[in-house]
Subunit: 424 residues, 2 copies
């Protein structure tokens, strides 16, 4: 078999894993590796340093390279590099969730026009097989729901907060020390990373394009040790959930923390592990879980994609149609205010008679039925304030928001401390 | 696109699901359906009864049929039918785990010679995407361990026994009434079904053929409500586990009940759900779970296979090499006596001084360290007998078997009631 030349853009954590893993494939040769700095010490035995270049465009313009593997992440310069590579008829393997979420539509169209494929198994769920199973093995299904834990950093933080009854900031600092969270953790803790991933996953699962700007997003920074403890008392764990549901053309896609029943499989997904729950017809419910990030899990998916393309290269016929991603029809976004959910509400109230009645009355006025209620004297308020936890039945988000406004301005409620949605 | 003609052999539960699911694919036409009886009432709206035939060979010999879908199960007549179909250059989709486990090697060889493929996503894990992910998405990995719950009937029975503290026979009868267990439940409860499935799965994961006759097998018929209760007390659930490990060429593949730590994901797989845990390098640990059987989940995988073949039909080049299964090198079987495990042992003993000492001495003599020990006065023995539960550290199966022999013949031990392996 002839050797296939590939070019690798990026030699960080994932790139290093890719180089190491590719060594077991004698038919695949890395011809060039684009790096930021030629002098950085690399954790790779016997790395041929003559392969390194700081000029990534020399890779996408190299006539001998058939597959470009991009593992630098971010939009710039990845977008320009991949576009140039596609125009030069190179197949693409990428782990870049942000780029796919923001410019996937344009890239897949360009790839189709140039008869090349873009493979991106590593861009959603790291090492978990999810893109190919959804496109092929589950290809006979109408998938109408996804509920997933797609960000390892936030799941690590929430797990630690739960296990150690610790507050968010404390655990974040620990995670940063261990390298599980970045110095600027915004991309993870505010839910951007999970939103990029669910945009791509929902698009292929629903066969309709879900645009990143239509995804409602809330992070985990407001979750406190107190919320964790109340959730536990009520039989729940708190997880950052990427949720996607479709009904006809209407797609409700969002990322926010949720209370998940402690008997639910997703409640047991701990630490940096990711998991994807899919509901399809005819298959029913499928759950795929595994390591969502890291050098080797991500390399597993990247190299799996490289091998899949190699097996199809130099054939007279075109690539497997299923390797393409050509869903140009857009899903119609459902606004968060139009969704119905159950809610957990943590209120700080005056410890006076009638306050529970006021809460009940205001909620009732806004069509909100209460499923459970818990009152506890506050530790801080010298007996003058109490905390009330309310869990509602299913109700409309818009109603909940107006109820919160009215609760906040009612005399006996000091503060609506937190509002977290509850998984069915 | 031209219509693809397929022939369906079998119109039982799975076949019915396949017919219904195929209706959403306008490019696929069922030309003939082989049934046992033309007069049986079918649960399919607007079924064209002119498609039905009792002559299955008329399907495998039909020149217009390109894909034969076999969902009758069992070796005869499926083996002859599929062989004939392959010789007639037809692609095969099958859900037949028994046939693949017993005659897969011959069938895959014949398919290779005739340039057709055999697809069998539904034969392991029902609706769970597992075959394609292992072959493709995880294709860059060396998978060296599988631990799986592959039989829905036994998992349903064990779950019910655990939840209701009920005995095996009682729950089996209930499962038979509900249609979750067959009138003759042997294939499920004695572990044959799980053994067929792990034979096929281990073969593709290890890329070495694992022969069904080399798989050690124990069923669940000896598990009692008492074992369940003791296991729970020790922090375990009891599950029927299909286990496969490879070290070099040596494959340790077996099906037997195991105590699984109640914090382990597999301990939370309940009812008829199946789950497969894979450990690979570089990916790490992946868990795939979902419905392991039933009309629609199985149809999801069968139709997924049909669609995958259709997308490759009529191309100049041959099929995706990865669709093939050509592992002709045999794995070297590891005998159960050569394996090391932790063990749970339930003993009935005389309630006399020194009996614990005797157990400890005999175990020690056979190189068995005890990890925990629990003694309880027996309810039946009028205070004269007691039950002792022993959990061992890791030790050699051969040592455990000889220790059991010596324990059984020692005066103070009435009976070794049960021996169940414990998952690490």
């Amino acid at each position: 078999m002839n050797k296939v030349n590939i070019g690798l853009i990026g030699l960080g954590t994932v790139g290093t894993g890719v180089v190491k893993t590719l060594r077991r494939f004698s038919n695949i040769e890395i011809k060039k590796i684009a790096v930021k700095s030629l002098n950085k010490k690399r954790n790779i035995e016997n790395l041929d340093e003559s392969l390194l270049t700081t000029d990534a465009f020399s890779i996408v313009n190299d006539k001998d390279i058939e597959i470009v593997v991009e593992v630098i992440g971010g939009v710039n310069p990845a977008f320009e590099l991949i576009k140039t590579a596609i125009l030069n008829k190179k197949h693409i393997v990428t782990a870049n969730k942000e780029l796919l979420a923001k410019h996937g539509e344009e890239l897949f169209k360009l790839a189709g026009e140039n008869n090349v494929v873009i493979m991106y198994e590593a861009a959603v769920g790291g090492g978990i097989p999810i893109i190919m199973p959804v496109k092929m093995t589950l290809g006979a299904n109408r998938i109408d729901k996804i509920a997933a834990i797609l960000n390892g950093t936030t799941n690590y933080i929430l797990t630690k907060m739960d296990e150690e009854n610790a507050d968010y900031k404390e655990v974040l600092q620990e995670a940063q020390k261990l390298g599980y969270a970045e110095t600027d953790p915004t991309g993870d803790v505010e839910g951007y990373d999970a939103a990029y991933k669910i945009a791509t996953l929902a698009t292929i699962a629903f066969k309709k394009r879900v645009k990143i700007q239509n995804i409602y997003r809330e992070g985990i920074t407001k979750i406190s040790a107190k919320d964790m403890a109340y959730a536990k008392q009520l039989g729940y764990k708190i997880k950052l959930i990427a949720l996607a549901k479709i009904d006809g053309n209407n797609a409700d896609v969002r990322v926010h923390p949720m209370l998940v029943k402690s008997t639910h499989t997703l409640a047991h997904i701990n630490g940096v592990t990711n998991a994807v729950l899919l509901e399809g017809e005819p298959v029913g419910q499928i759950i795929l879980s595994g390591p969502g990030a890291g050098e080797f899990p991500t390399a597993s998916s990247v190299v799996g994609d490289i091998v899949a393309i190699c097996s199809e290269l130099h054939k007279t016929d075109s690539m497997l149609p299923m390797m393409r991603c050509t869903h140009s029809e857009n899903a119609v976004p459902v606004l968060i205010s139009e969704t119905t959910n159950k809610y957990y509400m943590l209120l700080s109230v005056s410890n006076t008679p009638g306050v529970i009645g006021t809460i009940g009355t205001i909620c009732g006025k806004h069509n909100i039925n209460l499923a459970s209620l818990l009152q506890k004297e506050s530790e801080e308020g010298n007996g003058k304030t109490a905390e009330v936890v309310v869990v509602t039945a299913k109700c409309l988000e818009a109603d909940v928001q107006s109820a919160i406004q009215e609760l906040s301005s009612s005399g006996c409620i000091n503060e609506v401390i937190n509002l977290i949605r509850v998984m069915d």
